[in-house]
Subunit: 323 residues, 2 copies
């Protein structure tokens, strides 16, 4: 599906097909309001955004839970995108619900309501066939549950996780235990400052890497994302989007594009990680163009290819020599 | 001094030497306090940072005013950097003074005191030999004075200007008149939102370009800078600096590196403008590494070359083809 235009020893061939990619996280129903409008009961949740974003690069395995009110149309959407739902539990009760409103400038959002519902008893359980997944993404859930997933997984090659302010302050010991066992942490700038106690982002990344993850990705919304890892620093811009409709799920779509690329190539070499950053940014840039996962419904590889090229142009400058 | 490693038709040769570069703005004495320490009566002012930053690429002509208390050591610093001081008036009275303190996280700064002193009667006057300067930078001063400079200048090839919240709200008609006569406006994200009434930065840039400038540069501090012009959008990252000492003058140093490059090459082609964005970011990244203009005292072309290359590496990713 994807070939490189130049030879490189840093990436294994995708000829053998994508490597197994597992995601554990929330699937929910959202009520969201932005300057562009209002939607009620639309598909949401980190695992939803992650899975469908990743599906353009590698078919993901989803571990999540929904209630018996979860619309069949949403399940059908996952299936159309090749998401393997063998780990999606359907239990009696109501699906996780989130409700929020964005300020007109999109700089802040207010959560109006969160109902855990069936999610409050969620204990992620990997189907036996999925225990040997090479690539694992632990979306933002209780670090105790994230640890529980790792205890079931057999030597994944690359584990990335997300977290949030609530766990950084409320479950710090568990989070620190988790960080000792993951390869990469994705979090936003405020979370990075909170976790590390460092205001300066390179200093925060250094401190977080000392806690375990060899790679840290700091997401900064429309200011792009920074990768800090053993091969140095990489800056991915955000794509300038004039008509942002709904920023919900941008970070999880980023993670989906990122991990989708790693699973597609089977490579975790520094060059692959950089490309993954841009594919993450690419999927995130599409996610915000419509409510819920709606933009992904009409997205195709041609559009992804065009925007990937646009990212290359966005940062391109001629190399001059100063003497 | 600077050669390109690859052929390009977009840039004229620097063989004829740099083109005339004029800057009009403040020269002052600063008291500044950051988490890294405190300095009193150090060299400051937009024209100071701009000139010395630009001097590594093209010798600037400075139009400014100082009082009779202005230390000879500061004048000597300008001279060592090849800044032409034929337009620097020295008048009886005290030099412009600014005093400020930065929060420990550098996210906010508080101005403690501003004394205009001799600057309050400043009426920029171009020496006759400077009337025909090709490249002109109007640093952040009263837009009426900025307009006054343009009335003295004879058909400059490229005029860039800066401004601030104080003029956007207090001298809007004058600022709008100025914007109809400049090629480029540099401002920060908050100023872009204030001037345009648009929270979204691409939308803000579009609105500002409709006011006159064909190019708009939105500076975002440690999130880099965005260029919007007729050739599209360009995103320049900020260089990740772990030990920021003093952010004062970063924006003016950016402008100095930017305009210095244009004056060096004599080109305003889109490719040259992109390179100028990176050289601006390069000079800004050095400026914050020490108080006042101190980092520039030990800076040389070798270090600029190294950091320019580091910028190229910072954003480099392999071009893949998705089919």
């Amino acid at each position: 599906m994807i070939t490189k235009t130049q030879a490189s020893s840093t990436q294994t061939s995708g000829a053998a097909g994508p490597h197994p990619l597992l995601v554990v996280g929330s699937v929910g129903l959202d009520d969201v309001e932005t300057r562009a409008g209002k939607r009620t009961g639309v598909l949401g949740g980190a695992a939803s955004y992650f899975s469908v974003a990743a599906s353009f690069l590698a078919p993901p395995r989803m571990v999540a839970v929904v209630g018996d009110d979860f619309p069949a149309a949403h399940t059908a959407l996952f299936e159309r995108h090749g998401v393997d739902l063998a780990g999606l539990e359907r239990v009696p009760g109501k699906t996780f619900r989130w409700s929020g409103v964005y300020a007109a400038d999109f700089l802040t959002r207010t959560t109006l309501d969160t109902q855990l519902n069936v999610f409050s008893d969620f204990r992620p359980k990997l189907p036996p066939a999925w225990v040997a997944s090479d690539f694992v993404f632990l979306a933002n859930i209780d670090p105790t549950l994230q640890l529980g997933v790792l205890e079931q997984a057999q030597k994944p090659r690359f584990v990335a996780c997300d977290t949030m302010n609530f766990w950084i302050s409320g479950k710090r010991p568990e989070l620190l235990r988790l960080l000792g066992r993951v390869d990469m942490l994705l979090l936003n700038d405020e979370e990075a400052r909170q976790l590390s106690g460092e205001a300066n982002l390179p200093a925060a990344a250094r401190a977080i890497r000392a806690l375990g993850p060899s790679a840290v990705v700091i997401k900064r919304g429309d200011a792009g994302a920074l990768l800090f890892h053993e091969a140095g620093v990489f800056a991915a811009p955000a794509f300038p989007i004039e008509n942002v409709v709904d920023p919900t799920g941008a970070g999880d779509s980023f993670a989906g594009g990122f991990m989708g690329w790693l699973a597609h190539t089977g490579s975790t070499a520094p060059a692959s990680i950089r490309t993954a950053m841009i594919l993450g940014s690419t999927l995130a840039s599409f996610a915000v163009e419509d409510f819920s996962l709606d933009r992904f419904r009409t997205l195709d590889l041609g559009q992804i290819r065009e925007r990937f090229a646009a990212f290359a142009d966005l940062v391109h400058f001629e190399k001059i020599r100063i003497d």
